[in-house]
């Protein structure tokens, strides 16, 4: 199988603007992942192509990119699952500054992640046997939100993020849900104070781009709606 690709290239030392470069690949198998295609280009066609990847199995979340107009992980997308009749367009994640080719600066994304205090807050003394236990039912409520791998596919797919870079974004909101709904956590109120701001949770307009983009199939909007309910019905 032969395929055509359009990849957005940007070299900060030479280029003023990013531009699309065409690649034609021959003898490609349809059970290849998009990441294998990028490897093939980097190893056999153009060694200057730059992209992030670590585990290559959809766990580390470093190869999130915009493939055919949609944010996905290049390592968990097979060629047979996309239209290869037309050229495949590969761009870096939207909204974040491009460092080189498909590598973006994630500082803004992780700043927003840290804002929601993504760690257990509990100031009461631990039980004498040393562990804070949780029932299976309580743990199950967190399973879906705890699947997040911080690939930034959701936050950069959100039209609210494109227009307002201060919007906290779906990834941070899912993380906030994970700790606010944790029965062992005592920091729900301070987190909800952070979310209940103009650039916080209320910039979510239920566009569902994040749900379509999430490679871990988390229903992000459902988690955000639970937070919206909790915040708007909170008593002081």
């Amino acid at each position: 199988m032969d395929i055509q690709l359009k990849i957005l290239r940007f070299n900060p030392e030479k280029d003023k603007q990013p531009y699309f470069q065409d690649f034609n690949l021959k003898n490609v198998s349809d059970d290849w992942r998009l990441l294998d295609v990028l490897h093939e280009i980097k190893w056999n066609y153009d060694g200057t192509l730059t992209f992030r990847r670590s585990c290559a199995h959809g766990i580390c979340g470093s190869d999130g990119m915009k493939i055919n107009g949609r944010n996905r992980l290049a390592c968990s997308l097979l060629l047979k699952d996309i239209n290869t009749k037309k050229p495949i367009t590969i761009e870096p994640l939207p909204a974040l500054p491009i460092i080189k080719d498909l590598v973006v600066d994630m500082t803004n994304f992780f700043d927003k992640y840290e804002v929601v205090k993504p760690y257990l807050i509990n100031n009461s003394p631990p039980p004498p046997d040393g562990e804070r236990l949780q029932s299976n039912e309580d743990a199950e409520k967190l399973f879906e939100s705890a699947k997040c791998i911080l690939c930034a596919c959701c936050t950069t797919s959100c039209p609210s993020t494109w227009t307002n870079e201060n919007y906290i974004g779906p990834a941070a909101l899912v993380k906030a849900y994970r700790f606010i709904y944790d029965t062992r956590d005592e920091g729900a109120d301070e987190r909800m104070d952070i979310l209940d701001t103009p650039d916080g949770i209320w910039r979510c307009h239920t566009i569902f781009n994040c749900v379509e983009a999430c490679p871990k199939e988390i229903n992000i909007t459902w988690h955000i709606s639970q937070l919206k309910k909790k915040i708007s019905s909170r008593e002081y």
Partner: protein, 144 residues
Amino acid sequence: METETKPAYHNIRTFDQKNWISQNLSYKKDTGSWAWIFHRISGIALIAYLFLHVYSLSPLAQGETAFNNKMQVYMTPFFMVVEWILFAFVLFHSLNGLRIVIVDWADGSNYHKQLYRWSWIIGILLFIAMGVLMFSFELKKFIQ
């Protein structure tokens, strides 16, 4: 005193992708994004209509005849059709508004695509019903 030094990667010149119009145009759209786009468009159209509405009622200050004369303009077939289209905007905005309320308050995010489809079906039925209601008098005249 120790001065704060920035890490080396802060000196790299990056390209800021801040063009939200091109992002909106190039990103793949699904039911949720279409619902949001139509909701915004119909919302802006309804605000524009609000101004037209206030303007068209302004002859009330000049007495009954002035108002009736003005209303004659809006009785023409052209404005009847425009009013019918206005109803379509009202319908979409209100039905999708209900959809958003269900998504936010009643776990509707698990079945938001069905809700969107149903809002179109109900909307089109009500739109046709309103058309029959608005134009039945004209149609009868036309047939006779």
